[in-house]
């Protein structure tokens, strides 16, 4: 996969595969192309090369069609619908779904994960704190009932305790519903704890990949991203 913003090439031939029902972490420094990779996967930036999802070619398809295939995205910057209420944000997450009763159940499930959202259900989402909006972004993506969840820095702006809680929830969602995840994180230690596999990218290329346990003990990775 290769991708550019206008004339600026960001991804120079990135090749990786995700295993079904597993969590893959995408690690790399700022500007390595992590966010661009996620955007290319869901058609927000045009990418050359081949992107397949469950055997189907999705490269070049429109974002809304890719979402309907079951790829949910927690975008960089959270993507909150600021002028809608918390609950409307959640209902929008399930827009592409047809199973109404299950949607109502899933909304309750999100409130169980994040009780703060329930307290703010009738509030305009723009008035939520950054951390609450991050929870809302994750919940909104889960409301799609995704097969694959793309997470762009889900820990951004969250207090350490809340991050731990969020990662616990992601772990149990993965275990219970078998949602595959591709996780982009600055917090590499945290990411490797959650992930089964990991890829390290540098300036738009995969430089290392393997199981999370392997990479955790890889000296180069440890020095560059884990800081010890």
């Amino acid at each position: 996969m290769r991708a550019s913003y206008g004339a600026t090439r960001v991804l120079h031939g990135l090749d990786f595969r995700l295993q079904e029902k597993s969590v893959t972490a995408l690690l790399g420094a700022n500007g390595a192309g992590k966010t661009t990779t996620l955007r290319a996967l869901c058609g927000m930036v045009r990418a050359e090369g081949e992107i397949r999802f469950a055997g189907e070619r999705i490269g070049g398809r429109r974002t809304e069609d890719i979402a309907r295939l079951g790829i949910a995205h927690v975008p960089d910057g959270r993507g909150t619908f600021l002028h809608l209420t918390t609950e409307e944000n959640l209902r929008l997450g399930a827009y592409a779904r047809k199973d109404r009763p299950a949607v109502a159940r899933d909304i309750e499930r999100m409130y169980a994960y994040f009780p703060r959202l329930k307290e703010r259900r009738r509030q305009q989402a723009g008035t939520l704190s950054g951390g609450e909006q991050q929870m809302l972004a994750v919940s909104r993506a889960l409301m799609l009932g995704p097969k694959l969840l793309l997470l762009d820095e889900p820990s951004f702006g969250l207090a350490p305790l809340v991050v731990r809680e969020l990662f616990g929830i992601l772990r149990s969602v993965n275990a219970e519903s078998g949602v595959s995840m591709l996780l982009v994180e600055q917090n590499a230690a945290m990411a490797l704890e959650l992930a089964d596999h990991a890829c390290v990218i540098e300036t738009g290329r995969v430089v290392r990949s393997g199981s999370a346990a392997e990479l955790k003990h890889d000296d180069a990775v440890r020095r560059a991203y884990l800081g010890y």
């Binding site: 909150t80 809608l84 827009y95």
Partner: protein, 288 residues
């Protein structure tokens, strides 16, 4: 006192028509952040379609419903064919497209139906009249209030209405949850055109039917939308009613009927000078 009451009620009747046209303006504004100058001419054209249908022997209400449907389809088509290509064009380019649309619709109407003034029927029975209001005033008020209520329910409580609001506010996130943003915008144009058509059919018996009939009405609707806040649907409705009442009171007691349109212009300039976001609009802050 009775004279004042008479003017207030008459003002509410015309005000409700301004309110629905103002609402059409707000709907387009929320999606495009531009004011559709052709909104009035689209309504005028739809009213001519209704007139043709009634003249061809169709009953008023079937013609009314068919016109609303045709206006909706035309609105969707206009968005798809004319507006879509300039979606990412600079503001002025889009404004020129709107003005072009205005002139084209106006000229086509004049060409097909001629510029002679025609009367347009009112469907409301005499029994609807009350002491201070004519049957048409009561009927127009009821019809527009019904339309506004339906729109409220649609946008507030249906998944499609929610998706349309979402698409107008945040297209990127909307695509990520699977909303077909392009179609939502086209639907918005269709709805705005349909609402405008109803406003046209309700106002035509009062101002009579001719290709320029909506020029004044659109000005009042602008004033209404600005007064309420150009991005606030509720504000547009309140603004419409206020403008209608104000116009009638000032016209009857202060400045005379000839200068009524000036009220709208003074309101537009006044709001832009004193409170550009209107009464209910959100204040826009942008980093430069």
């Amino acid at each position: 006192m009775e004279a004042v009451l008479l003017q207030v009620l008459a003002g509410l009747a015309t005000g409700s028509i301004y309110a629905s046209l103002a609402l059409a303006l707000v709907m387009i504004y929320q999606a495009t952040h531009l004011v559709n100058f052709a909104q009035g001419e689209m309504a005028m054209f739809a009213t001519y379609i209704a007139w043709s249908l009634v003249n061809a022997g169709m009953g008023y209400w079937p013609a009314f419903l068919l016109t609303v449907l045709i206006a909706f389809v035309l609105g969707v088509l206009i968005e798809r064919v004319v507006i879509r290509p300039v979606e990412n064009a600079p503001v002025l380019a889009v404004v020129v497209v709107f003005i072009g649309l205005l002139v084209i619709l106006n000229s086509i109407a004049g060409w097909i139906f001629s510029y002679t003034i025609k009367s347009f029927p009112s469907p409301f029975p005499a029994a609807l009249g009350i002491r201070y209001m004519s049957p048409h005033q009561v009927g127009a008020l009821l019809v527009t209030l019904l339309v506004l209520a339906l729109l409220y329910v649609f946008f507030r409580f249906t998944p499609l209405g929610l998706a349309m609001r979402a698409a107008a506010q945040n297209p990127v996130s909307s695509r990520l949850v699977g909303i077909r943003v392009g179609w939502m915008l086209a639907l918005g144009w269709g709805l705005a055109a349909a609402v405008g058509a109803i406003a046209g059919m309700m106002v035509a018996p009062i101002v009579y039917l001719d290709p320029n009939m909506m020029a004044g009405i659109l000005l009042y609707a602008f004033a209404a939308a600005l007064l309420g806040g150009i991005d606030s649907p509720g504000g547009a409705v309140v603004g419409g009613l206020v403008v209608g009442v104000l116009e009638n009171l000032l016209g009857a007691f202060v400045i005379g009927n000839e200068l009524k349109l000036v009220v709208a212009l003074v309101l537009i300039v006044g709001v832009l000078l004193v409170r550009p976001s209107g009464f209910f609009g959100s204040v826009q802050v942008s980093r430069v």
